[in-house]
């Protein structure tokens, strides 16, 4: 595998396409925590046939969309510390209760970004090993949520695989990832390796294998 190889690749799915695939896999009436950044897109692709309840770590269940400029309230923010709204039927709680929802296994799905995902389902997404270490709620989410979905580009900006045999960066959790949604494929973590659930129409299984460390199979 070389960078020359990578340069020939057809473009992967756009972020919105990845988000819509995740949205389609979230069942009606699920309690869901969406990570800061790319995973937040998922809420825009939920179909009308279902209602999803969003949890934010800072004590908000039933989170709504971003408010209008004139409705911003600095006491009503999300885990990314950005102003949000609360929907009818929503509630506030303190931080220990909010994390009991996570750590007690009450959150059905969490969607997070990744730096590395190993074939055993290990996740590294909180530290590059440089700068001020800051973990937030990521370790609680991956340890406690019933299903941990990762939304990511298949390759790093440098063109290296993010799906690896063993993570080299500090772990967020060990054996915690259920499924990976990348711009190239949707893959389940299984004992046999990365099982391809859906493959980008422009990408062959052979190619996917060249940009993934560890066995990929259909």
């Amino acid at each position: 595998m070389t960078n020359n190889n990578l340069a020939k690749v057809e473009k992967g799915w756009e972020r919105g396409v990845i988000a819509s695939k995740i949205a389609n896999d979230l069942p009606h009436a699920s309690y869901v925590n969406l990570g800061i950044g790319m995973p937040e897109l998922v809420s825009q692709y939920i179909k009308e046939d279902r209602e999803i309840i969003y949890h934010s770590e800072n004590g908000l269940l039933g989170m709504g969309p971003t408010p209008n400029e004139n409705e911003i309230d600095f006491d009503l923010i999300n885990a990314g510390k950005k102003p949000v709204t609360i929907l009818p039927g929503g509630s506030f709680c303190h931080h220990a209760d909010s994390f009991s929802m996570i750590r007690g296994g009450h959150i059905d799905y969490c969607v997070l970004g990744a730096m590395e995902i190993s074939i055993d389902g290990d996740l590294a997404n909180w530290s590059t090993g440089k700068g001020i270490p800051a973990v937030g709620g990521a370790m609680d989410l991956v340890a406690g949520a019933k299903n941990v979905f990762v939304m990511t580009q298949h390759l790093t900006k440098e063109g290296k695989p993010k799906l690896v045999k063993k993570c080299t960066l500090p772990l967020t959790g060990s054996g915690v990832v259920s499924r990976v949604y990348s711009d190239y494929a949707v893959l389940d973590i299984t004992k046999e390796g990365f099982k391809v659930i859906e493959l980008n129409e422009n990408i062959s299984l052979e190619y996917l294998q060249t940009v993934t460390e560890g066995k990929v199979y259909q």
């Binding site: 934010s56 770590e57 800072n58 004590g59 908000l60 309230d73 600095f74 006491d75 009503l76 923010i77 510390k81 609360i86 506030f92 709680c93 303190h94 931080h95 220990a96 909010s98 994390f99 996570i102 750590r103 290990d122 530290s127 700068g131 001020i132 270490p133 800051a134 973990v135 937030g136 709620g137 990521a138 370790m139 609680d140 340890a143 406690g144 500090p170 772990l171 967020t172 959790g173 060990s174 054996g175």
Partner: protein, 237 residues
């Protein structure tokens, strides 16, 4: 004589704070952050403090100002990195401030445990990660857990919305966050509130923090909004 926890002077609220104290600071980012009490603490002058909070302050107001004034030797928090976190960043880069990183839920649970008389507990959070190093590991029902100890504090600085003289508190929206559990975990919880009401106006069904967890209260009617203060270039003191 009636019980009355309401004080009128911020120095009276902070009178027992001593050098080397461990102080919990409520808030998640700016929501629920007790900025006026933190400014009072700078004026009070206590130093060598250990701060337990979710974050490490923004700009040079509130916790950011306290850290900037070099009153803090150690911060225990989940997320000490933010674009506006200039004072912590500066001291951390110079090696002049200690940091203990704690996963946010473990931080909350360690605080809750302290307030509930639980010295330690097992959790699955951080198992197999660098934050589990040195911690006892135990298997329950085939799953690994690590032992985490309660986080006690001498004082908690807390921002609430409404209080009565007994110390019954309610909070505003997501400004609740760590504040109620910090009231429970500290030997003295020191509260700033926007509104005071008479006890007969308190609806017992709606009390979030019962008065037993509260030591002293001061009214700050229109607390500083951190985002606006930083935008306006506020520097404390």
């Amino acid at each position: 004589m009636q019980i009355n926890k309401i004080k009128t002077d911020i120095s009276e609220i902070l009178s027992d704070v001593f050098d080397g104290a461990t102080i919990m600071v409520g808030g998640f980012g700016e929501a629920g952050s007790p900025i006026e009490l933190l400014h009072g603490l700078i004026d009070h002058g206590a130093k060598d403090l250990t701060i337990i909070a979710n974050n490490s302050g923004n700009g040079r107001v509130g916790l950011g100002a306290l850290i900037g004034q070099k009153k803090v030797k150690k911060v225990i928090c989940s997320f000490a990195r933010s674009a506006k976190g200039i004072t912590f960043q500066e001291l951390y880069n110079k090696g002049e401030i200690e940091l203990e990183v704690v996963p946010q839920g473990t931080l909350a649970e360690r605080i809750r445990a302290a307030g509930s008389g639980i010295p330690a507990f097992y959790t699955a959070t951080a198992v197999g990660t660098p934050l589990a190093i040195g911690k006892e590991e135990k298997v329950f029902n085939g799953k690994k857990y690590i032992l985490e100890e309660a986080l006690n504090a001498d004082f908690a600085l807390v921002k609430a919305d409404v209080a009565d003289r007994y110390g019954n508190l309610t909070f505003n929206k997501t400004a609740r966050n760590f504040n109620p559990i910090m009231c429970m975990a500290a030997k003295q919880s020191l509260i700033q509130v926007s509104k005071l009401i008479e006890p007969h106006q308190t609806n017992p069904e709606n009390v979030i923090t019962p008065g037993i967890f509260v030591k002293k209260i001061i009214q700050i009617e229109k607390p500083i909004i951190e985002t606006n203060a930083i935008e306006e270039g506020m520097i404390y003191p």
